[in-house]
Symmetry: C2
Subunit: 340 residues, 2 copies
């Protein structure tokens, strides 16, 4: 690998400067992405390896990040499980037949991932070839809890109250669904690694909606299963938005790194996670709307606070669509200019 | 006061059982509330003392909570400041002319609150009379930061990115707006106390969107000003949704109690807040959709974890519109049945 920074940081090895990438870096803030978005609908872009490859490479070439992350969506796993997912422009995901009882749960399957998600593995292979050895490629999946939120709620939501009510009213059905998602996700990620993904990130976007106790019931055990199953084959990054309360457990899980959001200071994150594990984050995405000189000052300060080692610079959540490209680039440049 | 539990808990005095009330207890889960909602629009209900009184008393009489909280809205303060606010059914607040620069900021005023918000003080007096001495009455206001979010964003939002960008791009204008809101809020709350409010709660619903550092810049100093200004005249409860990272500062602020959301365990909340201050919370509102026996078990467990003293039972955020009334009542009954 020409640029080994991410893999070294994940191992905990000392680096000259921390690596940097951005969640949703291949996204709507890029004019070239918007051009493809006008021509092809969301799942066409996901399912066409040439398009997924072109999009995945955009931020490598235009912003200069230290890692690629495959353009795809966490909900493709539900689609493969026979749970219909539509992507409605401006409104996000919509699932016409959400899971609400035993009958609807029984319609979901544990699929042969090579048959149902072969296009993802084709994309991974094509991206790896196009990347050559420039930077590592991150593959990803949603946490089973976060996928359950969509599978049951049927769409995005402020509090996913229907999904949570389902868990509290039918905990056994919820656990059955979570296990089906987990089993599918493990098979999916194994194939992704086989196809060439160098790192896996798991997104628990809605973990922070649970109480700490419920997180240990409905989310964490399934994430731990996935970490255990991927074992030593690939470094795994766990990002639980709002999950500061679970950092201690996560720090002992065998994951290679933990994603941190911006409500958790570097000091708190190091303390809560046990002080040994590599951390990733946590620039407030809205702060990329600050003037460029201010962004540069704050990135430097952030690196000083986390420390340059066992650290991956990132945002605390996905980049917002209204971020000017030169602000995103200033964020990345500030890391490259870093001198402790 | 016939029922002194809330005031005793706020003083930190030992009580037989903790007091209980629910954020948004006079709200859409109550069929009688929905009947009034069909007949009168939102601000008519706020601005008509007879209606505000009727609504405020509903949960006292129908659910049996230990405190009343005046039916009103945090945004009435912006209205008084000459910032137009509409309430759109099903969509929430909408501000046709949000603040975006010096010119729009200069159009906002520091009003004579008796002139512009007299209807609130009339309501407080009427409610106090109707309540007689049954339970104490809580008055409230939004935190200046949370009001800035609406004043600048112009409507509800997942991440209030426009409001945050305004602060990062124009910190001096943001501080000027925050100070205007703070000065108005202090005058408003003094009048509310004069009219009879026994307790004041400040809602920082969007404090948890800020980094800990920005919270100390854009939110906390203004809350501290309000606490200082109300001084010893009334006990103040601070509720910062998602603000676990600020509990230490809050614990030393002179507030009588701190609201806690459900992502922060009782143990963490006691530890982070310094262990001395009264805490309020933190039942996950979605958990009121659990079966009633389960609600009762979990409420008992929650009280055991917080301890019966220096504790006010509440939800971790507002009650959801789809909670069955008998579930809300079971929550309150479980507290009344509590025996340590």
């Amino acid at each position: 690998m020409d640029n080994n920074l991410l893999l070294e940081a994940l191992k905990g090895s000392p680096v000259e400067r921390p690596p940097v990438w951005m969640m949703r870096q291949a996204g709507r803030y890029l004019p070239d992405f918007m051009k493809l978005k006008e021509k092809y609908d969301f799942f066409t872009r996901c399912q066409t390896p040439e398009l997924a490859t072109e999009i995945t490479l955009m931020p490598i070439e235009q912003i200069g990040v230290d890692a690629a992350i495959i353009f795809s969506d966490i909900l493709v796993v539900l689609q493969a499980m026979n749970i219909e997912v539509e992507m409605r422009d401006g409104k996000g995901p919509y699932l016409p037949s959400p899971i609400k009882d035993k009958a609807s749960l029984d319609k979901s399957i544990i699929p042969d991932v090579r048959e149902h998600l072969g296009y993802v593995f084709e994309s991974v292979k094509m991206i790896k070839k196009e990347l050559s050895s420039r930077v590592p490629l991150i593959g990803f999946a949603g946490a089973p809890w976060t996928l359950l939120c969509y599978a049951v709620q049927g769409q995005g939501s402020k509090n996913f109250d229907r999904a949570k009510a389902f868990c509290y009213q039918h905990p056994e059905l919820a656990k059955e669904l979570l296990q089906k998602i987990t089993t599918t996700t493990i098979a999916y990620l194994r194939e992704k690694v086989k196809a060439g993904a160098d790192v896996i990130q798991l997104f628990d976007s809605w973990g922070g909606l649970l109480t700490p106790v419920d997180y240990q019931v409905f989310s964490w055990p399934y994430l731990q299963q996935i970490i255990d199953a991927l074992g030593d084959s690939v470094p795994v990054i766990i990002f639980g938005k709002g999950c500061w309360f679970a950092l201690q457990e996560m720090g002992k899980s065998g994951a290679a790194a933990l994603g941190i959001d911006w409500t958790c200071s570097a000091r708190n994150a190091r303390y809560l996670s046990g002080g040994q594990i590599t951390l990733q984050g946590n620039f407030d995405p809205s702060k990329l709307l600050s003037p460029i000189p201010e962004i540069k000052v704050q990135v430097k300060q952030m690196i000083n606070e986390f420390g340059k080692d066992r650290y991956i610079v990132n945002l605390g959540h996905g980049i917002l669509p209204n971020i000017p490209v030169d602000h995103a680039k200033a964020f990345v440049d500030a890391v490259k200019e870093y001198q402790s």
